[in-house]
């Protein structure tokens, strides 16, 4: 080994003795930046004449403390987690899917359409809606996949642009009775709304300690375990990671970028679509009350994407992150009671995401700097 080879070895790999120090560094960085985000939010509240303490109380009441609230929080966390899991899959393949919001909405819409079209007995109908919803989301992402692999259009752009297209397409569907619009009698006073799912055609909502939440919660956790297993233990996951980390090595080794990439992108869309269908069939009042309305997706797609990114593409880490973000959402309902505008929670979650990005970025940069310093000689 030459001097430099040694340099690369010793400079890049964190040595055993430094390991403990590194861990506490991580903790310190995370707590510092999260604290900064929270303090900043508090200052904002104070500066506009509010008081931060009741806001915190309201957040906690709304997300966990009040009766029935943590069930609501989990119910919100479930679709976030499902969206995040899909995002993890596409990210592992090296794809940047940022169109979950649209995929979710389109999935839910297609699920609704076929759900009512096909009908069938309650439980079967629910499963049908979920499957078709997933297929719908997958198809919508499939448009981006097709553009990517046959026309060379970057998926970042197409998925983003397709969000609006999808939203408008569903809104269009909600104008026509032959598509999604409910018949005149069951519309109530709204003019763009689908028919409501019958009581028998909804996901069961078990009741635990006075908290009820849809079955989606269990489904999403099981999915997280499955995704984690598939990505780390199966040959398919191995090959997908290979594609994401080095597409040329993958191509040479027999991993078809088109096949694996398109599959990953469509799977990612399918998860978003599934989340949408789950929101429809099990979301309850928080999500359109078992019927499709404009704005049904309610930023769950965007937030789910952020959950995946904050969890650093780790399926199991996405579970707690999803719960935290869901808590901010459900908690916000209680904030308006304190006289502080409830949209402060959007600010808090935004600041929180930014804060959570910082530690990893800082550590990454430092590691890189060390590695680079060590590897400068490498020709």
């Amino acid at each position: 080994m030459t001097a430099v080879d040694t340099a690369i070895d010793s400079g890049v790999r964190p040595s055993r003795t430094r390991h403990g120090a590194r861990f506490s560094e991580w903790i310190a960085l995370y707590s510092m930046s999260v604290l900064a985000a929270l303090v900043l939010s508090a200052i904002l509240v104070e500066a506009t004449g509010g008081d931060w303490r009741p806001v915190v109380n309201a957040l906690l009441d709304g997300s966990v403390r009040h009766p029935g609230r943590w069930g609501e929080t989990l119910a919100t966390a479930a679709p976030l987690l499902v969206v995040a899991l899909g995002t993890v899959i596409s990210s592992k393949a090296g794809l940047v899917n940022i169109g979950q919001e649209g995929q979710l909405f389109v999935g839910a819409a297609i699920g609704t359409y076929f759900g009512f079209l096909i009908g069938g007995p309650g439980p079967i109908n629910v499963v049908l809606i979920l499957i078709i919803g997933a297929a719908g989301g997958g198809l919508w992402a499939g448009v981006a996949a097709g553009l990517r692999y046959w026309r060379g259009v970057p998926e970042v752009l197409s998925t983003l642009l397709l969000v609006t297209v999808g939203g408008q397409a569903v809104a269009y569907g909600l104008r026509w009775e032959w598509l999604l619009l409910a018949p005149e009698g069951s519309r109530g006073n709204r003019n763009q709304v689908s028919e409501q799912l019958a009581t028998g055609n909804r996901l069961p909502r078990p009741d635990l300690f006075g908290n009820e939440f849809p079955l989606t919660v269990f489904i999403s956790v099981i999915l997280a375990a499955i995704v984690a297993f598939v990505l780390s233990r199966t040959v398919w996951g191995f090959r997908l990671r290979m594609l994401g980390r080095n597409p040329r090595a993958a191509q040479r080794s027999g991993v078809s970028e088109t096949r694996y990439g398109a599959t990953a992108l469509m799977l990612s869309g399918a998860f978003a679509g599934l989340a949408g269908a789950a929101m429809l069939t099990g979301g309850g009042f928080a999500f359109g009350n078992y019927q499709l309305v404009p704005g049904f997706s309610a930023n769950i797609g965007w937030t789910g994407l952020l959950v995946a990114l904050v969890a650093y593409e780790k399926p199991l880490a996405a579970i707690p992150v999803a719960v935290v973000f869901a808590g901010l959402r459900t908690g916000s309902n209680f904030v308006s009671g304190t006289g502080v505008e409830s949209r402060i929670t959007d600010v808090i979650s935004g600041l929180l995401v930014l804060a959570l990005l910082i530690p990893a970025a800082v550590m990454f940069l430092r590691d890189r700097r060390r590695a680079r310093a060590a590897a400068t000689e490498r020709v």
């Binding site: 970042v156 642009l161 297209v165 990454f364 890189r368």
Partner: protein, 311 residues
């Protein structure tokens, strides 16, 4: 059907159609020009939406405090640049993912302006109209282009200036090199991430102006839903234009035309698929990319972060 066509004809021969279109195109042009600069440096800056909204809000604040549109424009720029600051420093100093930062910023600004709008409730107004004699008498488009609320005319300076900046100055040359091949630029002694940060600040400035113009030229009182996806249309315009300024502006005009056509035709009682028309800019952009993606070359390092020693 003939009736419909005569209505369309009427729309195309009415000056207000062009005025409305020009207003919308103006907003898009402010945002897209800055976004174009940012993308040429290699950043796919998706926080345009947030920058527009932030700019509009701080412009309203500025007007609220001083009662002057000019001050409002200035504070609008500052607002846009504040958001640009977060985007730039996070993504090109700390090397956080630019899409995450951008998405988060959009959500954050939306929440923040909604929150502050409620707490402060700034009031604002439309700016004065200003007629440029003679030119405003050009049939059809004269009024649209030369009898506008005065902040519109800033575009006539901003666009050529941006072109000159990118193609004729050293800064622009370095900017383009950074967007094409950051490794080479680095070796040539150019601070890659600094140039990228600067270009995002520039985008923040023009988007802030755009937001302010939207407020003073189009809406009047501030509401945090006013931007409504126009930032994304501006991004679409840059892509549609194949990363040239000319194409970008053409994209702005076409998209604005489509959007204002919808308004016009609704005004005379037709409802032709407003959803389709709203989605049109995006569909056109996607179709354009699908057709031209192999021929049009995006900046080679677009959306690729630069970290020294990492290819």
């Amino acid at each position: 059907m003939a009736d419909f066509f005569s209505s369309v004809y009427e729309i195309f021969t009415t000056e207000t159609t062009y005025s409305n279109g020009a207003l919308l195109a103006g907003v898009l042009a402010f945002a897209a020009t800055g976004e174009w600069v940012a993308e040429r440096s290699g950043t796919l800056n998706i926080s345009v939406e947030g920058m527009l909204l932030g700019g509009a809000f701080t412009a309203a604040l500025g007007y609220h405090v001083t009662g002057s549109v000019a001050v409002g424009l200035l504070t609008g720029m500052v607002g846009g640049m504040l958001i640009a600051g977060v985007q730039a420093e996070m993504s090109h100093r700390l090397a956080a993912d630019q899409f995450v930062v951008g998405l988060t910023l959009n959500i954050l600004v939306f929440g923040l302006t909604g929150f502050l709008e409620n707490e402060i409730a700034p009031d604002s107004t439309l700016a004065r109209k200003f007629e440029i004699p003679l030119l405003s008498e050009i049939p059809l488009v004269g009024e649209a282009l030369f009898w506008q609320r005065w902040p519109f005319y800033i575009l006539y300076l901003l666009i050529p200036f941006s072109w000159w900046l990118v193609y004729r100055t050293r800064w622009g040359l370095e900017l383009r090199s950074v967007g094409e091949n950051p490794q080479s630029a680095d070796v040539s002694g150019i601070d890659v991430n600094k140039r990228r940060r600067q270009s995002i600040y520039y985008a923040g400035l023009t988007c802030g102006l755009g937001g302010a113009f939207f407020l003073f030229g189009h809406v009047g009182p501030f509401e945090n839903t006013i931007v409504g996806g126009r930032g994304f249309i501006a991004i679409a315009a840059v892509i549609f234009g194949g990363w040239t300024l000319r194409g970008t502006l053409a994209g702005c005009v076409i998209f604005a035309g489509a959007l204002s056509f919808r308004i016009s035709i609704q005004l005379i009682g037709y409802d032709i698929n407003s959803e389709l028309l709203q989605a049109l800019p995006f569909i056109v952009t996607i179709a354009g990319m699908a057709i031209f993606a192999h021929r049009v070359r995006a900046p080679a390092a677009l959306a690729r972060p630069f970290i020294r020693g990492l290819r």
